[in-house]
Symmetry: C2
Subunit: 240 residues, 2 copies
DNA sequence: CCAATAGTGTCTTTCAGACAGTATTAT
DNA sequence: ATAATACTGTCTGAAAGACACTATTGG
């Protein structure tokens, strides 16, 4: 009822003080790998849910921002830096951790497969990629987090340039389309897909070609430096 | 780096413990009143920012969910219950409160003007509606919160039934359109607006009419019980 | 020349945007 | 009758969806 904030993490006396809460970040790290949409899970060492798989996450340090914390966890889990990261939702049900009240700010990250070491960077706990259609039992409410992330990514894929984050520097249009198909979990029409790309003026040919086995080699493309204002005018929205 | 969560709000010993953080909720309460989009602000009594205006907010109690906390603050500030409430974003910059680290989960609410007592329900602090285009200086990062809320509402207004939350039980189509115009801050075409409503099959005539001064009386409408699955098929998305 | 992959064009439908006239009521 | 408000229909252009053929390469 009182609109003031507490003085410090170490509570000072006062009628309106309430115990501070542990705050964690958990990150849904997604990539497209081996033709599948995959998420990083780490094996829990401690109770509760010891031995089960969980999203990489951890405490927010007192001096870092929430995003910094998420980015730190991300780098520790995958070794990949400079990736797309977006706040997802904050989970704060009183019983979401069996040991007591923990508030968790969930983030999601999109990492390009080529920028992401396959081998787990994390030594003390196992970290693995899991196909999102074949998941193990997950600790806490982490499955909820993942599902929210998937919905968000799929939705935003259609009206943002989110998908670009999963591609290497240069790529063929077929590869790009395949990436979209994998995330959206449905097939797209090749001609319509390319028409839309051309219309939005998002990619440019890099001049080189790449032969994919036999058959005509595919033109290589890169993403143009996008004028976001221009995109917005075309009805394209931005990631938050 | 450790993926486990702490045991309790009262930290137990362990290498991975970090001090818990004060967690608050702040709520952007919006309504359309007197032809304007308005937001509830309360006058701060304590330092810092004493005397300045802020979003209604407060601590998350140990046993309540984040949404419950937001709803509690909402009712205390406006007296209105059973209103649309949606989590907005979590603000956690280390320096967002000058006294120390505070994490704030922002929510936004849409309350129908007729369900919302104009007089401040809150006795110990002044609470007022402010036109979002004529705001006082606001405490903390609350202006950021408000702007995120406005953007979210405006975006979602176009592909969800969010706007319905601001209407009374029955209303004329002109009133509905006006509400949309006020929120979006631009004029809409009457015929196109109605065509879309009809296409989406969102409203039904209630049978009565209401005379608005001289001229032909307007048909009264109510919202249909919407089949959300059906809406989704029509390209309509749901609020989260 | 054959197999394999890359690349392109058209038709149809749907919907948004722009726009002006008719209908109903009170005075 | 007139003023005031409520209500409706059409044309046009943009874009999505469905769909099939041509082009280039290696073997």
């Amino acid at each position: 009822m009182n609109q003031t904030h507490p003085d410090m993490p170490t509570p000072a006396p006062g009628a309106d003080r309430l115990p501070p809460l542990p705050v964690t970040v958990d990150t849904v790290i997604l990539t497209v790998l081996e033709g599948r949409l995959q998420v990083v899970l780490v094996k829990r060492l401690d109770e509760p849910f010891a031995g089960q798989w969980a999203l990489p996450g951890g405490f927010v340090h007192p001096t870092e921002s929430l995003e910094s914390a998420a980015r730190r966890e991300l780098e520790e889990a995958t070794g990949a830096g400079d990736v797309y990261l977006e706040q997802l939702y904050t989970f704060g049900a009183p019983d979401r951790d069996t040991r007591g009240r923990v508030v968790s700010v969930a983030y999601f990250a999109l990492v390009a497969a080529d920028r992401c070491p396959l081998t787990p960077h994390r030594l003390e706990a196992e970290a693995h990629w899991f196909w999102v259609k074949q998941l193990p039992t997950m600790a806490f409410d982490h499955l909820d987090m993942l599902q929210v992330a998937l919905q968000r990514v799929r939705t935003k894929l259609e009206y943002t340039t989110l998908g670009f984050q999963l591609m290497p520097e240069t790529f063929t249009l077929q590869e790009l389309q395949k990436t979209y198909e994998i995330i959206l979990d449905r097939e797209l029409d090749k001609r319509n897909f390319r028409r839309r790309l051309k219309l939005l003026d998002l990619v440019e040919a890099v001049g080189a070609k790449r032969a994919e086995g036999p058959g005509r080699p595919a033109e290589l493309y890169r993403f143009k430096d996008v004028d976001f204002f221009h995109l917005r005018e075309k009805g394209f929205f931005l990631p938050f």
